[in-house]
């Protein structure tokens, strides 16, 4: 069978979303998500309620995103933690209405690497916070959101 990468990935994506539904469903039923942290409106509250307060700055967390967002509705975020024993990684956006965007857990030594898209209405620091070995770390990068036009 000769499946091109694009076709193969499209197939995998539909399988993945089916899998994801199965995985997330029990969480929703069990109300296992941190409702308080995800609905907090202020960064410090969200970081505290999600257990990332007192995070120290680390260069072992790599964050790739756009300097100026091409489309605030879908800003790509790619993050990796090179801190040994990373068990979770969370995305915070200071100026979003709810600063905690997502939290990912890594079990049994899974590689702490994520790629996703986030929505941003205005310029903000994007933070990646990490829990590892009972400690918390973060890195940040400013992403500019502009109304566009007038270039060049």
């Amino acid at each position: 069978m000769n499946v091109t990468r694009r076709t193969f990935l499209i197939h995998s994506a539909s399988i993945a979303s089916a899998t994801a539904m199965l995985t997330f469903a029990p969480f929703v039923l069990a109300d296992g998500w941190n409702r308080q942290a995800f609905t907090d409106k202020v960064l410090n509250d969200a970081m505290k309620d999600a257990g990332y307060d007192n995070a120290v700055k680390s260069t072992d967390i790599l964050l790739k995103t756009q300097d100026i967002a091409e489309n605030g509705a879908v800003v790509p975020i790619e993050a990796t933690s090179n801190i040994p024993g990373t068990t979770s990684l969370a995305i915070f956006i200071d100026n979003n209405p709810n600063p905690l965007i997502a939290e990912f857990s890594f079990m049994n030594g899974a590689e702490p690497f994520i790629v996703t898209r986030v929505k941003m209405a205005k310029t903000s620091l994007v933070r990646i916070a990490v829990k590892a070995g009972g400690k918390t770390y973060f890195t940040g990068k400013s992403v500019k959101v502009t109304s566009g036009g007038c270039g060049g």
């Binding site: 300097d67 091409e70 310029t123 500019k144 566009g148 036009g149 007038c150 270039g151 060049g152």
Partner: protein, 579 residues
């Protein structure tokens, strides 16, 4: 007799003092021209660099800015030097050809003496002459080639594509090219350019899987030496221009990927590595300090005619950063001495192209005539006559922008108008007819719709703050390389010591403060959102000009600037701004 350029300039000065008409055939004989462009050869690898010609096939007038402010790390550093400051920094004598080419000083007077600049037929002759003395030299085009004129718009860039091929462009990257849409770009790159021009861009990939859209680089042999040319397209194309033209592509700067590519071409044996960049000079200067292994960044986008390269230190050594102006005015000549597998030394010259010093190339002239023939009558329509110099380039309103704003406000019955701070657009001298072609030089884009929008004072301020930050953000990677949005109706102060939200102050309309809660009628054009349907800007302007017939000098609505005392990006002798 062989004269070097300095001697030639001295001769010209003497001729001028003796009262000879400089444009007379005697003073401008071919032999003199040959001397002016007789750049001593050096080394064994030569690159010719053009950029941002904005589809100007014929020679034009182009006034360099009187305001080009640099802040923070760019304060009083190239390219943020204008007028006398630029002359002094680069040791260019005043009242010379070079002073005319590189600055706005005494523009309308000097333009009458030294004439028009650029033109593809003149450029073609110069390229041939330089190639004859520099075997194997490559011609690199930094982009913004297919947009900026009536004929390029009406032929979807075909006139420039054909002219570029005839000129012998070897490698190209892009920006405004993408405003013809992804399909048109692919069609040209895959068919017209196939086997002739390599279109390279390391920083464009597909939105879905991040696959590269174009080759990142090309390695060419020059005199047996492998030379890598890496492409860097304008990183903010989908932001500064409508995203819907390239909906499936993502751009950006991508330092990490660039470093990988540099390492890759070095690994493949490239002995000289050049980035053909459309980042803009401030972005290039930052990039040069953070990526290593690039010998030179040949840059464009910000339209800075910088006579001397900036030499930037980084972890791997040094990188040259150049910017080669716009509108076909200049051709950069970079000569490398490559020995023992690396660049040992260089020479760089940014040659102004004086149309009256160079004989036009017959083949290129014929092509240009052919391209223009179907449109000649339309292009030549005289709409009005100007009594003042009309120009656009500069951080704030130029006189042609002011004309556009006044026309928009009058025809749309608007209290306020916005016009984009584009850096292209040719200049006219006092007494010249304004033809439809001149008008199209200022407006020829694929999203020309005019708009009339009700906006609150707060919204107007937010837009002005947003664009101002694109120009003056302390981080060059957060700048987009255009100038400040041109504002009609509203007077304001711009405090450059502040950050976004605090720069635009004291906004008034007809002497009254702008009320953040009140709604105002705002006219504009060039909307980035899809689906706009307003009358094209050129129709609005043509009507206005035909009606006025004579364009008299009008006050420029430039802001009062704070925080710029001692800034060498403001020309004291020609800037009309109040400080």
């Amino acid at each position: 007799m062989s004269m070097n350029r300095r001697e030639f300039l001295q001769m010209l000065a003497a001729a001028s003092a003796a009262g000879l008409a400089l444009d007379s055939p005697a003073a401008l004989s071919r032999n003199d021209a040959r001397s002016f462009y007789d750049v001593p050869t050096f080394g064994n690898v030569s690159l010719l660099h053009m950029t941002d010609c904005h589809a100007q096939l014929l020679p034009v007038y182009f006034r360099e800015p009187s305001i080009n402010i640099g802040l923070n790390d760019s304060w009083n550093r190239p390219p943020h030097l204008v007028g006398e400051y630029l002359l002094k920094t680069f040791d260019i004598p005043a009242h010379t050809r070079d002073a005319y080419a590189f600055t706005c000083l005494d523009f309308s007077h000097a333009a009458k003496i030294y004439g028009k600049t650029g033109g593809f037929a003149h450029l073609a002759t110069l390229v041939k002459q330089l190639r004859a003395s520099r075997p194997g030299a490559l011609l690199l085009d930094g982009g913004d080639t297919w947009q900026g004129s009536a004929t390029s718009l009406w032929t979807q860039g075909q006139d420039m594509v054909d002219a570029s091929k005839l000129l012998g462009v070897d490698v190209m990257t892009g920006h405004w090219e993408f405003t013809y849409g992804a399909d048109r770009v692919q069609q040209i790159v895959n068919h017209d350019f196939k086997g002739t021009i390599d279109f390279v861009a390391q920083n464009i990939s597909t939105n879905d899987f991040g696959d590269p859209v174009f080759p990142a680089y090309v390695i060419r042999q020059i005199n047996g030496i492998p030379v890598a040319i890496i492409g860097q397209a304008f990183p903010y194309t989908p932001i500064a221009n409508p995203r819907h033209f390239t909906p499936d592509w993502t751009f950006g700067i991508h330092e990490d990927h660039l470093q990988k590519i540099v390492d890759e071409v070095r690994g493949k044996g490239a002995q000289a590595v050049v980035l053909l960049s459309h980042n803009g000079m401030d972005v290039d200067l930052k990039l040069a300090a953070r990526v290593h292994g690039i010998d030179a960044i040949l840059g464009g986008h910000t339209h800075d005619g910088v006579p001397v390269p900036s030499i930037i230190q980084n972890s791997g050594g040094k990188t040259l950063v150049t910017n080669a102006g716009s509108n076909g005015k200049f051709l950069g000549v970079l000569d490398f001495d490559v020995r023992n597998g690396k660049v040992m030394d260089f020479r760089y010259k940014l040659l102004p192209i004086f149309a009256n010093l160079i004989a036009p190339d017959p083949a290129m002239s014929a092509l240009i005539d052919k391209v223009r023939a179907p449109y000649a009558t339309k292009l030549g329509e005289i709409l009005a006559t100007t009594e003042e110099t009309l120009y656009r380039r500069g951080n704030f309103n130029g006189s042609f922008d002011q004309l556009i704003l006044d026309a928009l406000m009058e025809s749309k019955d608007a209290e306020v108008a916005f016009s984009p701070g584009f850096r292209w657009g040719t200049s006219l001298l006092p007494g010249e007819h304004i033809t439809l072609e001149h008008l199209m030089d200022q407006t020829a884009i694929t999203y020309p719709q005019t708009t009339l929008t009700e906006m609150t004072g707060a919204r107007i301020k937010a837009i002005m703050e947003d664009v101002c930050d694109n120009l003056f953000n302390p981080d060059p990677y957060k700048q987009q390389g255009g100038d400040m949005v041109r504002v009609g109706g509203i007077h304001y102060t711009c405090d450059l010591r502040q950050t976004i939200g605090g720069r635009i102050q004291d906004m008034t309309l007809n002497g009254k403060p702008v009320d953040p809660n009140k709604t105002y009628k705002v006219a504009g054009w060039a909307p980035v959102a899809e689906g706009a349907s307003g009358e094209p800007i050129w129709d609005v302007l043509a009507k206005y000009l035909r009606d006025k017939k004579v364009i008299r000098p009008r006050p420029l609505n430039q802001p009062k600037l704070l925080g710029v005392q001692g800034n060498h990006g403001i020309c004291p002798s020609t800037s009309k701004t109040s400080l």
